[in-house]
Amino acid sequence: MKCQEVNKLLLAYLNHEVTPSERMLIRAHLVGCNACQQELAALSALQSRVRQSLQVSAAQVAPSPQAWNRLQARLIEDAHPSLSWFRTWLQRLAPGVGRIHQTDKRGVKMKKGLAFTVIAALVIALAVMAFVPAVRAQVGELLRWFRFESPAGGGEVSIPGSVEFTPLRPTYLPAGFQAMSVGLNPEAASLNYWNSSTNQILIIDELRVSSERSLPPGRKVTVNGQPAVLLTGLEGNISFVLLPPTPSAPITPPADSDQIVPLESVPVSETVETVSYTDGRQLIWHIGDVEIRMLSNLPEEEMIKIAESMAPAEEESIE
């Protein structure tokens, strides 16, 4: 074998990637060729240098301690396509406005954006109740009405939704929490609360699931003696759109209950408040065929207390 041929194979020879016959020929050549021996030594030194550098560089880095919790949250998200459908449905009704759940690079992408038709739906619902009793009777044939704490402030209000299950609401809330939005669809409900003084959030999502569905992996706790899971160390941002206490002008409800009212036609002024959290927890448990996921930066004991106070929302008969 000539030097030129040997040189082409030297790296593969060093890496034990030549055939037995090639190996024999190369060895025979190296015995009598100082130049190729030096080339072999230089290649070997270079490989060692590169290997050492990569091994040392890699050993100096590691995934963040929150990596597992982030993955768990992401897998839960992945496993609930109907909740994604819910968000998409809400976004179509009022694109671009809503509770925005953002993420920074280190944070948890808890949700991709819960469009704020929740508020639009609430405003429309208030208008329907306040101004058009006749329409309300007609709507009542398609929708069920449940009482929740009013996101506009000042007591409770009935929220309509074509709900196929009875949503739950907390009967205990720590002082200072205000309802920000309520969203209902046949398979899911979402209640959002915020304490603006302490910047604490409480996001309760309810989803109909199969009764055989198991809880995701996480620290095991109990809610009213029933098994639950608690995820900790969650990070993220949530933006709330703040409405004035009452609508600024009368709102014309849709003549057709299926008609979608563009949010631009709703004359409300709004400010957006963004809450960042780095100490988020998510409590997950089942009541019957409903999976409840409570995201908050409240202490664990308070979250469990709220969870244990959850009760079916009072249904209002519209006749």
């Binding site: 030194a45 550098s53 990569l54 590691a62 993955l71």
Partner: protein
């Protein structure tokens, strides 16, 4: 625990088995992604994407058809390549780097700096060459394993590694290593 046992547990719905699988391989996946991307945040994103895909695909993974680690490396590399494409930054071939842009030899004083110099040189390789360097010198894979992961012939792996070493040598020989390197002469 053996990866085959963990995979079997995952395939029977044992979520704690999946947790154990994650913790067993997270460093490997993260560090490979970090070496490919040079960015801790992006490496973390790749780690998430890889294990979401693993979680989705484990039920259909057949250990008789191939090694789990080979499959895991392939998934990791694919996500790294996707992440790099998202950046839409041009990779500059090391061949085009002028000598004037390279570090003066006098700046090298210790092993730590040399490792950084070498790592940066690897970082300046184009994606294909960088990939084979990391698969070979960080993950210690054979040419056949690399060919399987990259879905290319073994000859292609060989020629890419040859070009990568030649390119690195041109740059690094201008910046000599000042600490002893074990030489293996066969």
């Amino acid at each position: 625990m053996d990866s085959a046992d963990l995979i079997h547990r995952c395939q029977t719905g044992d979520e704690e088995g999946f947790a154990a699988l994650f913790h067993q391989y997270k460093n490997l996946v993260y560090r490979t992604a970090y070496l490919m991307l040079d960015d801790a945040g992006e490496a973390e994103d790749v780690l998430q994407e890889v294990f979401v895909q693993v979680h989705r695909s484990l039920l259909t993974f057949d250990p008789l058809k191939g090694s789990f680690t080979t499959w895991l490396y392939r998934v990791t590399m694919n996500h790294c390549l996707s992440q790099r494409r998202k950046r839409r930054l041009p990779t500059i071939s090391l061949d085009k780097v002028s000598a004037a842009a390279l570090t003066e030899p006098q700046s090298l004083v210790n092993r730590v700096e040399d490792e950084e110099v070498v790592r940066q040189a690897v970082g300046r390789l184009n994606t294909k060459l960088r990939t084979v360097v990391i698969l070979r010198y960080y993950l210690d894979l054979s040419y056949a394993e690399m060919a399987e992961i990259l879905n290319v012939p073994t000859g292609t792996v060989k020629s890419r590694l040859d070009r990568a070493l030649k390119t690195l040598r041109q740059e690094l020989e201008m910046v000599p290593c000042t600490w002893p390197v074990k030489e293996v002469v066969k």
